[in-house]
Symmetry: D2
């Protein structure tokens, strides 16, 4: 029955990353069969394993489909060929058969050598340079007519991630998305990583930035002081947010309210819902958040701490926004590009209480960056886990409690 | 068109409790019309108001229906008649036309005098004593054949609650069920009330007990230490829980895990899911939780604090239970009766992270008792609010963060 | 104690809209007192009521605060004065004391006459024309330097909404946000309104457009066929969506998948997650969705139905987007303006399975437009209700089931 | 460093069930090392695999811990010894070292032979018969003093489940808990299984019963007709529910309401919340649900269909109950036992809109029984999946839509 066959190689940490199991499973589920011609399993945790699998199918079409399906797990076809490419037919358009990236480390074979694809990120194309010595991942909108875009699946290999060395929450196979599991240790692990990264960042170590992407519920629920302290203490180096978080943070400074709720009194302040509008109007009159902080109009809080500590802030606009504040990047493509540009150097991503920012940032992060997604609604961490970020941890918890607990672990007295 | 009419009286805090608006609204929505014959509105907050409303309808049936509908809001028919009653036809069975109670203060007219119904609670019947001088609310299962059960709606009046004097979270018209509102002040108000009640309880003041009804997520999510401290410090006087909370609390003491998750290490302990079974087995061998605490087998935690402080504990069984632990009341009718018996004297109810206990306890509470329902899932606080508890506050927050924040407000150093 | 006082007038449906109760409540909660000098209550549903309230406070500051607080409920100060205005200090900046609108019908007093504010919408300013004969609500970003912007609260009145005549789900006081209430009748009421509006729209009646704002979960969960049928049958006239809904709709047409899940086979298709990328790339190559439909590349589905029926589509970009598709408005301010321009004429708004679009659209809708917010997550309908849209109904239900049930009510055979 | 070692054997479908990966992972995570002495991988889907693993640890204690941890995955120690047992010290108490079962098929070695443990279920003990020829799983409360209870881990093996042959939703590795995945195919797969089981049940095939465990939201949300039709058409053979589902079902028959909401009119009926009380009172007066149906008082609906079709109903009481109805088993231990007794013969379990019943039933089900958990709240399906039921599928969907869609697939015309 098997009239088509091909041998593929799996190499790396294919046992403890479940890769071998998934590949065999995929072959069988798609209707193929296999012969395990060779399995060498690393005897220790650090020794890589290797499997040679003869894949058989009832037609060449089915075989091709199966090979396409197992390739993103790292299965490369044994006959090693260079990758193929085609010229982009127009600005912002890939060739029909473009290879779409995953967020795992990826190599392409060029002139007989395996080359790392730079700036890897999910759902991009791969552009090869003119002399075929380098390759990088490129968003669809950024490709220029005539550039060489990798097509098909030949000569491309994906490297399964090794489980990290640290024995903390990020080294587990399964993300923990449940309100019924203890939070304390996750918070402690996050705090420890954050502390290590601050140390690293001070010493100029690579990949030592902490990125926080957050929504306005941080302010509403009472996490403003803790986050401002974390920024002020040097624990956060990049902030992704929207108009609302910035406006409510400064509203709290100017009026002591958030969405009209008195943060100390704790109840709806009459006409308080206007406060964020008046805040935005005032900052627009001043011209910039930086000027508002430097002139002393805005004294404390998240935005003030960012200005004072030189934290890189990307504020992206949405159709929900009032105003918006000066500094908000209203064009979503430009905002995405600004976020993308801020990713290199990030060693830990905290996605807090914002579905939009959590998913958008998750899309931009390479799989290797440890990521924590915190939301009181379990759907958001689940969605992140669904996208298959290997080292993503989900936490069902309100934003304020999370930030306050992390800050306390790091010495906050609030 | 109006061929039937009747005059009803509304009396009390009918403006600020929205009663007048609701009654007029109900009349119109049901197809009736009204004539406001007299409206005297209290000019200050404490002065009661009074309205006299002529209700008109196109048939006597419709009129009767409208009168039934407005009666629970406190509208009493002007011609004052004694209430009617009928003998219960069998043990545990009310007469067909029995009056079903609300959780608001209620009076029945007996021999020309308005008598308070004792032990008011939602969804019960009213039994009148032999000489027609007293009345009390009785669960269906508790009525005995031949007892006089109030029927119809004549001679029954419901007293609208006055808004409480305190200017805290419980004096607001709308319960706050949202993850996007500040929690800090609710926690602070709850802590302040708790503190006042402890003071009152020490001084023998009535209605000064604090009731906590909670689920096992308190333990899983890390709230055990805080709750144990609250109990140990005299802030909680009655605990409603199930087998699971007690088992996981003592599991934490014996094994340091909850549902197999290491509470300190924070990750799944191999075979840890057995720990709760072994805990239950051990306590069964010892014979009782009290004996386990007194013999020093169980040293710390919620159950230990309850035993040491003489807190009244009602543990109700469910079909989810392993074991169960000695002391668990496996019969749901008996458990409900035990809970009911513990309600008198309660001045604040905290319903934390348990849909079952929150709803069951909510059913037993008179409307006047301030109630906070805390759950990370907004459906639970919403369900409580749906049941119309006037002074119920919903809080979308994880149980551990809530208990830790309350405890911190009260002086906990955890 | 009362050293400051002012008489305010409430006029309209102040009883059945709870306005009177809320105003008295606000006065008391803020520490003022009142004297009800006159209360004339309409004796029927359609007759307006009137109240004259003497508000007293211990300071002129407190009095001013109370008056500010009751004004949005429709309380106007008796001494009728013209509204005040000030010139906008710069493009996109209001004067400091600008009046921020609610979404209720609003009038300003100009040269002794009460003038309706056009294009009313929440959280805007009011610009008065040069000869002070007209006023319209204007977003902050749209105001031009020197335009006359209404300030303070004098000479402004808000008209409480009358409860609608129809006895359907939109005429109730409370939005229904619960998974535990029957959905059938809400679906039936929505269908009936939709049917009436189609009839009206065909006959050129004003305010007869149906707006649907939706997210990609419509496609993922299986609601595509039903929505396409609704559009194709003339039941939907305006569609607000994002890149994802459009991309997944066309992915379903080209590949039979949504986010890589086979919609018929129902399971993850190998490499299916690429399909939306390839779909976007293909439409970019063609140049527009319209061209893709007209050339026959896209044959069926939501976008095809929109093109064929001339439905107005506003696609707003976000930072989550791949591509994006041609036609997506990537600038959020421009997208908001396009949505705003599409609101006039809308008589029913269906906000389905998209927090972002639901909130953004909710912000733009005047209070009088009946609105249904459908989401499987109760937080979204609750958030909409929180914003105080009077006629907003929340439905906790998955998007596909909702759309399929509405379509079946209207004759769909799917 | 490794001063202790032991060889363990894994046998069966250890690749496609991910068993080998999990075992190696566990060894490493706990600080051990391994040597894969032999790996024979089945070359086809049906051929079992076999691995021989030398486990090494730095102490005998650690080694013992690791062996305990890998044993539930099916790793048996090579030197095959009989299992050990100890006499139960008292009624309802296991020996300290009792072996706690998983829900996977399990064998114990008795007199040199591997014997299947009967009635396997999670979290029980294993009792060996007097002549050591048979073993069965026994709840803690059921053990009698002196019975031989298996202890330790020697001579016990767990058989990994093979993936099912059918290529439907139950044969996938990952449960699908997301509102953003297509539901249509899951519903179709469930309907197909249900149909096959009805066929099997008619022909007397073993394991062909369909069990539905459901909550009252089925009635509230509008799924009553569909479920009654499914029962009446012979698709459901066992029903687990509580007092509320039965009461609201019969309330709908007697009053046309559910929790006071008119199911057809669709809005709150004045005093409708009493209807369930009156319903319960009426059935109590009649004496039983069966008598109410047979006498024609209850004509249609779920309970009527159950009586007419002879469906086995287990109604378990809770502390939330009013009444309760006659037939409700108020003792939770007795109710659990009744549920347990109804499990044998079940071939498909549908857990719909009830956290309590879903978790309680999930606890009783052997891992091999396909299970679907449907809830609008993602936490419930997630919790079920957390408990590791291999073939459990989670569906985030409202109960009514699920039941109506399943019924339509099977021919319902509602």
């Amino acid at each position: 029955m098997a009239i088509a066959q091909e041998t593929v190689i799996l190499h790396g940490h294919i046992i403890d990353s479940l890769i071998l199991a998934k590949v065999l499973d995929t072959i069988l589920m798609m209707g193929g069969t296999f012969d395990l011609e060779e399995v060498v399993i690393g005897k220790t945790r650090h020794e890589p394993s290797r499997a040679k699998i003869l894949v058989q199918a009832s037609s060449t079409d089915l075989l091709a489909e199966i090979l396409r399906a197992v390739q993103p797990h790292g299965a490369s076809i044994e006959r090693e060929l260079d990758c193929r490419w085609e010229a982009a037919p127009a600005d912002g358009v890939f060739p029909d058969e473009f290879y779409a990236t995953s967020h795992l480390p990826t190599q392409v074979r060029l002139q007989g050598r395996w080359i790392d694809v730079e700036r890897i990120e999910m759902d991009l194309g791969i552009v090869v340079n003119a002399d075929k010595t380098a390759a990088r991942a490129v968003p669809m909108g950024d490709v220029r007519r005539g550039e060489s875009v990798v097509t098909g699946r030949t000569g491309i290999r994906v490297i399964p991630l090794q489980r990290p060395q640290e024995r903390d929450v990020f080294s587990f196979m399964e993300s923990q998305v449940s309100a019924e599991r203890p939070h304390g240790h996750i918070v402690a692990d996050v705090a420890r990583r954050t502390d290590l990264l601050r140390e690293g960042h001070r010493n100029g170590k690579p990949d030592s930035k902490v990125l926080l992407a957050g929504g306005p519920a941080i302010i509403h629920a009472g996490g403003r002081d803790a986050l401002a302290w974390l920024i002020d203490s040097g624990f956060v180096h990049v902030l992704f947010c929207g108009n609302a978080l910035a406006a409510h943070d400064m509203e709290a400074d100017l009026y002591g309210t958030s969405l009209g709720y008195g943060l100390s009194a704790g109840r709806a302040v009459p006409h308080g819902h206007e406060h964020h509008l008046r805040t935005i109007n005032r900052i627009r009159a001043i011209g910039s958040i930086q000027a508002a902080v430097e002139s002393g109009v805005i004294k404390e809080g998240i935005m003030a701490a960012c200005v004072k500590r030189g934290v890189q802030v990307v504020m992206a606009g949405t159709i929900r926004d009032d105003g918006p504040l000066p500094g908000v990047i209203t064009d979503s493509v430009a905002a995405q590009a600004a976020m993308r540009a801020a990713i290199p150097g990030v060693g830990l991503a905290l996605l807090v209480a914002s579905t939009l920012h959590a998913v958008a940032t998750g899309n931009l992060l390479p799989a290797r960056i440890p990521t924590v997604c915190v939301d009181v609604n379990p759907a958001v961490p689940t969605k992140l886990a669904d996208r298959g970020s290997f080292q993503a941890v989900g936490l069902v918890m309100d934003a304020a409690s999370f930030l306050r607990d992390v800050a306390r672990e790091l010495g906050w007295k609030g």
